[in-house]
Symmetry: C2
Subunit: 552 residues, 2 copies
Amino acid sequence: MRIVVIGSVAAGTSAAAKARRNDESAEIVIYEKDRDISYSGCGLPYYIGGVVKERAKLTPRDEAFFKQRYNIDVFTGHSVADIDTASKTLSIVNMATGEQFEDRYDKLLIATGAHPIMPPIPGIDKPNVFPLRNVAHADAINEFIQQKQPRHAVIIGGGFIGLEMAENLVHRGIAVDLADMAPQVMTPLDPDMAIYVQQYLERNGVKLYLGHAVEELLGDEEVDTVRLAGGIEIETDMVIMAIGIRPEVELAKRAGIALGPTGAIAVDTRMQTNVPDIYAAGDCAEAFSVINGKPLYRPLGSTANKMGRIAGDQMTGGDLEFRGILGTGIFKTFDMAVAQTGLSEKEAKAQGYDVVVCHNIKYDHADYYPDSAEMVIKAVADKTTHKILGAQIVGPRGVDKRIDVFVTAITFGAKAEDLFHLDLAYAPPFSTAKDPVMYTGMILEGILKRQRPLMTPDQLIQRQMAGEPVTIIDTREPEMYEKGHIEGAVNIPLEDLRSEAGKLDKNIPVVTYCNRGVTGNAAQNLLLQMGFKEVYNLSGGYNNYKVQRKRC
Amino acid sequence: MRIVVIGSVAAGTSAAAKARRNDESAEIVIYEKDRDISYSGCGLPYYIGGVVKERAKLTPRDEAFFKQRYNIDVFTGHSVADIDTASKTLSIVNMATGEQFEDRYDKLLIATGAHPIMPPIPGIDKPNVFPLRNVAHADAINEFIQQKQPRHAVIIGGGFIGLEMAENLVHRGIAVDLADMAPQVMTPLDPDMAIYVQQYLERNGVKLYLGHAVEELLGDEEVDTVRLAGGIEIETDMVIMAIGIRPEVELAKRAGIALGPTGAIAVDTRMQTNVPDIYAAGDCAEAFSVINGKPLYRPLGSTANKMGRIAGDQMTGGDLEFRGILGTGIFKTFDMAVAQTGLSEKEAKAQGYDVVVCHNIKYDHADYYPDSAEMVIKAVADKTTHKILGAQIVGPRGVDKRIDVFVTAITFGAKAEDLFHLDLAYAPPFSTAKDPVMYTGMILEGILKRQRPLMTPDQLIQRQMAGEPVTIIDTREPEMYEKGHIEGAVNIPLEDLRSEAGKLDKNIPVVTYCNRGVTGNAAQNLLLQMGFKEVYNLSGGYNNYKVQRKRC
């Protein structure tokens, strides 16, 4: 059996290695149009930032490695021009010599990856405008920085690459402005979580231009000015294009292979395309949601690895099947970790879910143990089934742990009320006696099962703007209230509430709040038991409100 | 309704607060025989080590706090002498005045906690022998250190408290010897995982005397020498008794409340004892295993909190029920984190499970990103159901995250083959493209479903000692082999194995190995496909074998 793989980054090499592990006798060949193989695309920003010192660390494997270890033939600098699915042949171009030749396959894997989106903006072809997708791109950026010593960069796009590059360019001593046509960074996040990232970027000196499309890259030889919609002009020395990536599907389309609704190659759970014996995996292939089976395109190295392994298993008679993804993502920008999994509030609503949400601000570990820090968790649950649909977390520490607990819980269909019962590991350096994930479950359970509704800052601000009646009670001590409070709030510290609440109108909706929500919840409990009809605790408390008010 | 709670640390205060949240009108009273309430017992070692500077941080709440916030009356220095379950009355002693009085309850919660085991060793009552269970104990240790400036301590007991104290006393400049009558530290760990902790303690200057019971504490006024079984005498300036704790059940027993097989108070899932309207929670109460429902006594703050909350809910008409624990534990000793959840190999076997195990050595995050470090994961799965039964992890970073993913997976009944499919969060600072948890699942799946058995170092050593035939193949490069290898192993680097394997006897069992197991697995695949009958990959590779050989 002859297995041919097109593409040699995460999915292609995973597939080939798995195929070999399963089948010692198969012929396995990989064609790769670039020079570098099996590299870590996710490490590129850190190579540019100087955090990863050696280029070789990102490209630890070469053709010889695959030959020696796996008896796999890798041909770099070879482009597959066409697939003849009827005769199961490929026409291939040796890009160095121009030589064309044919090869045949019994099983073919398309792992052609994705390419950075480079929209037809005037000036985008100038030499100081860089995408960042592969090692050659990183080399080009590094060379430019070394030769030209730029002092300023504009990053176009506030996704993973854009935000990781912001940190890494600042590390190299380059001032960064970041523009995105979206009104927020990181569109997988809800706006009320993205705002935390935006605030943090600004505190680290990154100037943001959100809701501003790029109109033109001005300059003679090189770009010296970026013009954004709204007439904003930014002088700069270099531009990083990080708008996003598109699946590389041209070869597949020409061969009659069907694409899915996301524009990536449609595959079944065995990674098979609509054409017999042709598989697709990695950033060129479409995934689906673990939660509801809907098509999902969230190209990431972790998913590419997974799909590749499954394809390699299937091509050699295995039974491994793809179970979908949650669209989990994480990144670090400066010292802040930002992670999300499953559905955001906006995604869940767009897909027709009736949702409840909460913002939970908690320390990552015991507050008396050094270096504890607050994280903000936003969780979304389904009002009907109580299932957790998604979580978003921002904070300097312990974010990766909590998102992975959510990932695991959601994968197994956890309901809000299940989270409290998890026997998570507690010791002061690692967590709190009740972990932030457990608290999140408790808050959601309060909404779903115990008539303890939350009001989000967005909802409160809307209500205020609409002039709807609401009694807002600041339950903190007077000193805190004096330092800053919600407009129109009355200050009744919790310890006075038992005696003072009688003076309030029980038929007007009440919103209680403290700094983060715990005392607000105690006040809510008290008022509901005293006969108040409609009492909300403010989601995430005043600390969250302060942040959201700037946005709304 | 009058709710009385006996005990005010984790479970008692959680219960009282939850009861108040549910029921504004109940009378809620707590009796506590000590002075400190609602303190973090888990933080005490760090207070002694000076990591936590302020005592007040460990005891953030006092009687006034509970009165103001929750309208709960806390009486410290009050001991409950007896419970009359027929008349629902308590006889109480004010320990300061000696005054005795009665109280009555509608619902009673026993949250009396546990006390340190102080065996009747001669000399144990000397003033420089310290348990560490509560704030008063910590004060006594601190005072002694400040006044006497001890230069050496013996810690008796290698559990959580013993190992956390080892680190913290060393931080205070005190040399530490640690003795345990068990042949290993941390008995919830298997010996082949405890050895990693032991090695690490020794590297940090802690001298271990394992398998040595304490026979006598010698000295005039104070202990100056600890005598262990086997005639070992250790000169010292102070002794920490950290053998373990026992549930405080005397009051309950006297009142006719039934104990469970572990000796702690038996409760149902609503935390009810056998006596109507009497509940128990926290370190005095018995838990059960999430995995198989068997009684389990693993007293920890996290569980006490959980049980307390459930009891508080139930006493006020709620429906929260206890779902059991996995016996999850984590601790830090120096810079090493050690965690375990579910069943160890020895526990699982003792309970009749037919198990498979693996040792998985992996980096916590991308090896090219700074500060990555190896962790060792041992996982245990049920051969029949494929369910993960337990995991043990040792390493300097990312251990808490992986154990919590295992906790969540095991709670939801995850099978070995489920772990690979988790869409865990990947970016170079946080993980590897396939997370160590996923790799663990892949290895176990290989054993369970793909005929890729492992042999543990223990099994190999036993086989060698028994003189049973086995071909051991070191698949590493000759330079590595020369530096150290398993006795009797032949060196056939993987790249030569395809050509060299023909010379070996296919009917003799083969064990392949590399440093950590990945190349060993590739060799195993190859040999099995070449017709070798019985091929094992060495679990955890040579790196694990090296460590285990010292033990076996």
